[in-house]
Point group: C2
Chain length 340, copies 2
């Protein structure tokens, strides 16, 4: 499998996730604005992948041969990219890191080369983080485990390997994974389209279900653990993730099933005290009313389409980061992991 | 709005619910086998509506002018209709009632006319039951209530007015309904296609959400009560209903939101001790993998498609029947309501 997003010669390439699994089409971006539009329109999605894409977007703002970016230029690049999606904090994290690097460059530096180095470091670190998250998460799972996952926290949502699917892949490699149950994840169907596509390619036994079947499977004893990614983790351990995650966490706890969140430290936002302060993106009603280009819902009905929800930390068994496994009380454990 | 299913001259007519809301197409059935096929293929669905359709199907088995149906003829008609869908008990209930009527007829009776009278009685009683369920259910709701419902337990699922949507309609008429949140109800989208269609026609403020958004809305304090229908209620109060209902009930209780089941007494099956004995229909994988005729899910993935789940009685605040409101302990309260 090719990576989700990468730097090629002088531009960024990403697989168009809107068209998977029907077609493998690649989109090239040559300006920060094109990267911003790719993020906004969900050519690329998934919190860590968005962070990597945004970092490359900053590189595109530095023209080859030119000198240092002015503060106003950096502001414009930053603003274009930062405004694309509000919930995933990895976007801000990557932009902050690129900004710090740009501002720390000596006067005669090759700005573009230096920023590219930083973006490539973010990309490499993300893959390495996913692999470590995979190892640490797989160690938490019993032999013969049947894992439920939601949305796509896989290679497509990261620079590679995946967070929740990194745990799944490591568990498969360790010979302890029996099966993955993948929620289709309405309305955007990241589970049916992306997670199923990734796992089938890897030869991992995967069963697709609708989101509303997950609770039934848990009650019937067919799920041993829930593993999901995250778009932002507040300082107290509250987790913003794809809409439907909260419901899974509640039903998992009701059935005594552990609920794990797998995410890099860059997803932990110590500046956001609790989940109540995390902005929840509301997307187009068309995602709910249209199916494969056809209007399915009755006309005249109102629509809500929040893209994320918040799972209070009391439902979270553990948060698996590349630096270790955080458990309650999360205020302390996350602060210890996330403080550089 | 025309009824869902009715007798016209010498045959049965039903609206084709597979094609709503895009088209209003009516299907005519002239044999018990055609009615059976209409039920199996979901031209008509909803437990009470299936019961009424099956009763008319029995009438179609009695040829005009012919004498009494033999026991073998009754067996054949019964078997064709009873095997169509396993979970909804109203189907068996209606067939048992028609059978008793057929067997009690005097030798020279006009069998077809007598059976038609019985089927029409079932139809009329169902509408009357729904209206009474609506009144009793609405009385349980506070002023300004925001109701969440799942699937379609409306006029389309009954001979008219609806069970859960009967409660909604009565609450609207009483001026106490602020808004209905309708789960789209994957995979068959009864909420997006049917519930939204019914409620928009009635001018009831309705917001469509995906199934996975319901928990988020509950946690945000945007839902005051959950009202759903039922396909079978066991003697102990366990409720089989559309897949996803169990999850709603768990999250509702977690958020202190009352969870009401609205169903006629014909849905109560005293012969089934608990939900564990209720057969759960598993339907075609295509319902999950195809959207509006287009394959959306990645190829090669396994699929599960249970059409119903079981909500244990401990999550059910009350069961609203036409004869009264049953509360825990349900063994006693349901037996009192359901015993003739």
């Amino acid at each position: 499998m090719r990576p989700t997003v990468w730097w090629q010669d002088d531009h960024v390439v990403m697989i168009d996730q809107r068209r998977l699994p029907a077609e493998e089409v690649y989109v090239e971006c040559r300006t920060p604005q094109e990267v911003a539009e790719a993020i906004r329109s969900m050519v690329i999605r998934g919190a860590p992948a968005i962070g990597v894409a945004a970092a490359f977007g900053v590189v595109l703002g530095a023209r080859p041969g030119n000198g240092a970016l002015t503060s106003a230029e950096l502001d414009a690049i930053d603003a274009a990219l930062r405004s694309t999606r509000p919930t995933a904090v990895n976007l801000s994290w990557a932009l902050d890191r690129m900004r710090r690097r740009a501002e720390a460059l000596p006067p005669k530096a090759d700005v573009r080369a230096e920023l590219l180095g930083e973006a490539l470091a973010i990309e490499e670190e993300d893959v390495a983080s996913c692999r470590r998250i995979g190892e640490l998460g797989a160690a938490l799972l019993p032999d013969g485990v049947r894992v439920l996952t939601h949305c796509n926290a896989g290679a497509l949502a990261t620079a590679g390997y995946g967070t929740a699917l990194g745990v799944v892949r490591s568990a498969a490699q360790a010979g302890k994974l029996l099966r993955v149950y993948a929620d289709e994840t309405r309305p955007y169907l990241q589970g049916a389209r992306l997670t199923a596509w990734e796992l089938v390619q890897d030869g991992i036994p995967t069963t697709l279900i609708t989101d509303s079947m997950a609770g039934h499977m848990m009650a019937r004893g067919e799920i041993d653990a829930v593993v999901v990614g995250a778009d932002r983790i507040a300082a107290n351990g509250d987790v913003a993730n794809k809409i439907g995650t909260y419901t899974l966490a509640v039903v998992a706890r009701e059935n005594g099933i552990p609920f794990y969140v797998a995410a890099p430290v860059s997803t932990v936002d110590l500046a956001t005290p609790t989940g109540a302060e995390i902005p929840i993106e509301e997307r187009s009603p068309d995602e709910v009313t249209m199916h494969a280009g056809t209007r399915v819902a009755a006309r005249g009905v109102d629509v809500r389409n929040p893209a994320f929800d918040v799972t209070p930390h009391r439902y979270v068994t553990a948060i698996v980061c590349e630096r270790g496994v955080a458990r309650a009380p999360y205020d302390a454990s996350l602060r210890a992991l996330a403080t550089p």
